[in-house]
Assembly symmetry: C2
Homo-oligomer: 202 residues x 2
């Protein structure tokens, strides 16, 4: 009787861990397993070391919440950044997107959550306290809410804006409008509505 209906235990354990990763289906997980446990173990060793090192050294900036290898991230440490501007984003990766646009030279604050009644995230779950405490301490001239132009982003911005303005800090939202470099045919009617109401004289 053949007992071997699976890979060896340690290989199955690795397969199970791979299957839990986002955007990896069962077939991809097996393809990755076979790649990692192939004759040439160098790529797997590289991955193992990279994973250990990242887990050991990459934490979160205690001021803004972005990834950092020390207590403060390189942005918060950078003396050249404009400390009068604070951009509030929902997720860590949003910091990188905005940095890559090269258009913002202020500081960031990673909120970590957005209001989402559907996912059971109400005002109680929103980590507003640390943001308000930071504003009170750092007193930026303006807070830019960059929380996304979807329902969650708008709702969260509408909730936060009065709390920030109460501290006497100017509060703004990223513009919603036509994506750059496309014709009108690529914009939905809601976006077109925002593009109209946000139109600027030239």
């Amino acid at each position: 009787m053949g007992r071997m209906k699976t890979y060896p235990d340690k290989a199955e354990a690795l397969l199970a861990a791979l299957r839990k990763l986002p955007s990896i289906g069962p077939r991809s997980a097996e393809r990755i397993l076979l790649f990692l446990l192939d004759q040439d173990r160098a790529p797997a060793q590289t991955l193992a070391v990279a994973l250990e090192e990242a887990l050991r050294h990459v934490g979160f900036c205690e001021r803004c919440g972005f990834f950092s290898e020390g207590p403060l991230c390189t942005i918060c440490q950078d003396a050249m950044r404009d400390r009068s501007l604070l951009c509030v984003v929902a997720r860590r990766q949003d910091v990188l997107r905005l940095e890559q646009s090269g258009r913002f030279k202020g500081l960031y604050h990673v909120l970590g959550q957005r209001l989402s009644p559907l996912q059971g995230i109400g005002p109680q779950e929103l980590p507003v306290g640390p943001l308000l405490a930071r504003l009170q301490k750092e007193r930026p001239a303006e807070v830019i809410l960059a929380l996304g132009s979807d329902a969650e982003g708008h709702t969260t911005a509408l909730y936060l804006a009065p709390l920030i303005k109460k501290q006497g800090i100017r509060t703004s939202l990223l513009a919603v409008g036509l994506p750059a470099g496309t014709g009108l045919e690529y914009a939905d009617s809601v976006t077109l509505g925002y593009a109209f109401s946000g139109r600027q004289e030239i």
Copy 2:
């Protein structure tokens, strides 16, 4: 001036290692990175341990070439397997597929390569020596070539068959025909041709 156009170095190193995995594109790699370096580090720790353990303990069976945590895999060690039948497959995962079908109770031999002129794999590159030495030693009654019904599989089988038969060992190929449980409309004409020539009286 903002220097932060990337994640911290150790995070970028992990991202680079993830990008080298098969079936993972740049977007998936970033999604996995953010998942692994999220506040909850438990899934990443589990993956790190599973990877280390698999690399340390999972090797290859010195007889058949399948994955094994010891010198011999559980199939080769299993006294209940029919040692008169040897099934030659191209890749390790093929062993698992055949085991899962539950229809074969003999032993396996993982060839590791198939003839493929397009990929520069000629008879010199085919690891035939270990197979022929094993046959000479173990003297199975029959060798079943399960190398696939594509061009590489056929070419490899046609090359191996005379070498095996020269040792006085019966040699067979897996049947090519209609996939089970489908209508004729799902079989291409080449498959239909094989299904005709391999027809069996009922």
